[in-house]
Amino acid sequence: MIERRFQLRWPLGASGSLLMLWALPVILLLAYVLPFAGVTLWSVTRPEPGFENYVRIVTGADFQAIFVRTAWVCLLSTAITIPIAYLLAYYWVMGSARRSRLIEICIFIPFWISVLVRAFGWVVILRNNGLASDVAAAFGLNGLSTGRNVWSVITGMVHFMVPFAILPMASVMRKIDSRVLLAALGLGCRPLGVFWRVYLPMSLPGVFSALAMTFIFSLGFFVTPMILGGGRVVLTAESVFVQMFQTANWGLGAALGVVLLVVVFAILWLSQRVMRIEQLMSR
């Protein structure tokens, strides 16, 4: 047995292992840390040294509006994504073989299609006189504006995020022992009660991680709001793009980027804490 373990030696040898060990930090350094350090430097040096850019972001009414809008759009799309993803995850894990197969096809094929293609797909469906407004008209809802507004953006974002939210929830659901559910039934609990009292509380850790993931994801959305919002629903990520590539205000764009990243880290830290408390609670 011991000899066999030695046969499983890393094929590159000791120096090779060391190289591989350093590869990841080096890639991280080159691809993320250095560019970000540059961006941070821009934010306090362009157009001139100082915190001018940050002052503008914090005090400017236009940026406050963007932040408030971003927060709302992200909260709403997260709030819509989570229940949809929960239901789909539930049927994926608990449903019959055929049903879970169907869910796999419907969810994970769009998963591999580019964001851009999906956003334009929604444009086709949601544009004025498009499929959605035709359907609405068939139900007597005429003149419903469907294209290029907050709701189109949220629709596109939810569609994109649902598969991502399904995965952490499904992985927690898969670990739920079906005998625990049977035990609840056996103790006189009705099936709906089993869901509320046992299944839902047991799946909550998955919901929390899906929640954090979805919200953080939604903060960085760029292509979807740009295409489906058509410049009318500018979110933070898009405004970074506007500052940098349309008004050539590199310092301001950089500062916006830094603020966004700080917010993301703050949320990550907060969600980690919540999870830890949740873990402590379940001790």
Binding site: D177, R179, V180, L182, A183, A184, L185, G186, L187, G188, C189, R190, P191, G193, R197, V198, P201, M202, L204, S282, R283
Partner: protein
């Protein structure tokens, strides 16, 4: 065999013949004494598909109130299926299933006066011990004060008071097992189903929990139906045992019945150890018959049922009832092929003609038995009444 821990058997309300599965309905005259009853029960999985599998084949069984009843059999024999049908977790294909006289065949689990203790405990991981135990009581809509009182009583009953506010994932297997028992007992079910509840525990704890389970059953007076593949467990705890194999009920009886009076080769072989010898009826007179064993000689044994001369039968004899003696005695002989020291006994492997036999004897010269070494020739003796004649 841990025969010493078998409790003195409470006298059953009816004679054990009446409970034999071949005579359905004989207990119906005492409906109050029947806790659970299945009639002509069949269960087929995947009916109509090529993978159809008949898990239970025409099972008839009556379980008395206040009985510690065990379903015993090898894995895959259908014992767990039967338990799940009683619990409502599995639908029967045909037949009836009654619990205290009420036909429950179509009732969902939550509507049955039955609770189950699952193999892996199946405790609610997000609830404290107290909340776990209270769950069933809350489902019955009991007033808060009563729920609290019952939970406290249950905590004492299973000695889990100091863990009342802990969650199950911080506790050991034995502690979880106790909580699972308390949770299932708290709503005072009429029937408690236990699905191999001790199989996940280590040996010492398992032996301790056996005694606890048995005394818990006596204290609460609740009918226990216990599923296990461990024959030692079954013999040690049960008032009566049903041996199941391949979807068939093989034999129902007290642990003594099952061990001393096996009615089939399967039971003789599965419960304890048996020497099974093929034989042919040489002569039959009344309750005695003589049997020819090829390359071995002739033996006498009492018979329970009619046999024809020339009929093929199986003879079963327990290793501890096979007596070895010095070779000068007349009668069947054998050669010792192996000797194993077991601490409290010595086991001899023997060859007699084409038959391989096992004999077990207390160490030393006890009861005049002497020790033998491999290669020794010995004469074989049988204690009176030790040979069982099996037709199937």
């Amino acid at each position: 065999m841990q025969r010493a821990i078998i409790e003195p058997n409470p006298t059953p309300p009816a004679d054990s013949k009446a409970a034999s599965p071949s005579k359905p309905g004989s207990l119906l005259q005492h409906p109050n004494s029947v806790a659970a009853e299945v009639r002509n029960l069949r269960k087929i999985y995947n009916v109509g598909s090529p993978q159809a599998h008949e898990a239970l084949k025409d099972v008839n069984l009556s379980i008395r109130a206040n009985e510690f009843f065990t379903l015993l059999g090898p894995s895959g024999c259908g014992k767990t299926t039967l338990l799940r049908i009683l619990g409502g977790f599995e639908m029967l294909t045909s037949g009836t299933c009654r619990i205290f006289g009420e036909d429950v065949s179509r009732l969902p689990p939550e509507a049955r006066p039955v609770n189950t203790v699952f193999q892996q405990y199946a405790l609610f991981p997000h609830m404290t011990v107290r909340r776990n135990i209270a769950f069933g009581l809350e489902m019955l809509g009991k007033p808060k004060a009563e729920v609290e009182r019952t939970v406290e009583r249950m905590l004492d009953l299973v000695h889990m008071r100091e863990y009342a506010d802990r969650r199950p994932d911080t506790m050991s297997g034995g502690q979880r097992q106790r909580v699972a028992l308390a949770r299932a007992l708290a709503p005072q079910p009429k029937l408690l189903l236990l699905d191999e509840p001790l199989s996940a525990l280590d040996l010492k704890l398992r032996q301790k929990m056996r005694l606890e389970l048995k005394s818990l059953q006596r204290e609460t007076g609740i009918t226990f139906i216990f599923v296990t593949h461990d024959q030692e467990e079954a013999l040690a705890m049960s008032d009566r045992v049903a041996v199941i194999s391949n979807g068939h009920l093989q034999q129902v009886g007290t642990p003594e019945d099952i061990y001393e009076q096996p009615q089939s080769r399967f039971v003789a072989d599965f419960i304890g150890e048996s020497n099974l010898i093929e034989a042919k009826v040489a002569d039959s007179a009344g309750s005695e018959a003589a049997f020819d064993i090829e390359g071995f000689g002739q033996v006498q044994a009492p018979i329970g049922q009619r046999v024809e001369v020339g009929q093929q039968v199986w003879l079963s004899i327990r290793p501890e009832r096979l007596v070895l003696g010095a070779v000068h005695r007349e009668g069947p002989q054998a050669t010792v092929t192996d000797r194993t020291y077991l601490g409290n006994a010595v086991e001899y492997h023997l060859r007699a003609g084409k038959h391989a036999l096992t004999a077990r004897s207390p160490r030393g010269g006890l009861r005049g038995r002497q020790d033998f070494a491999p290669g020794d020739a010995v004469s074989l003796g049988f204690e009176p009444g030790s040979i069982k004649v099996l037709l199937s």
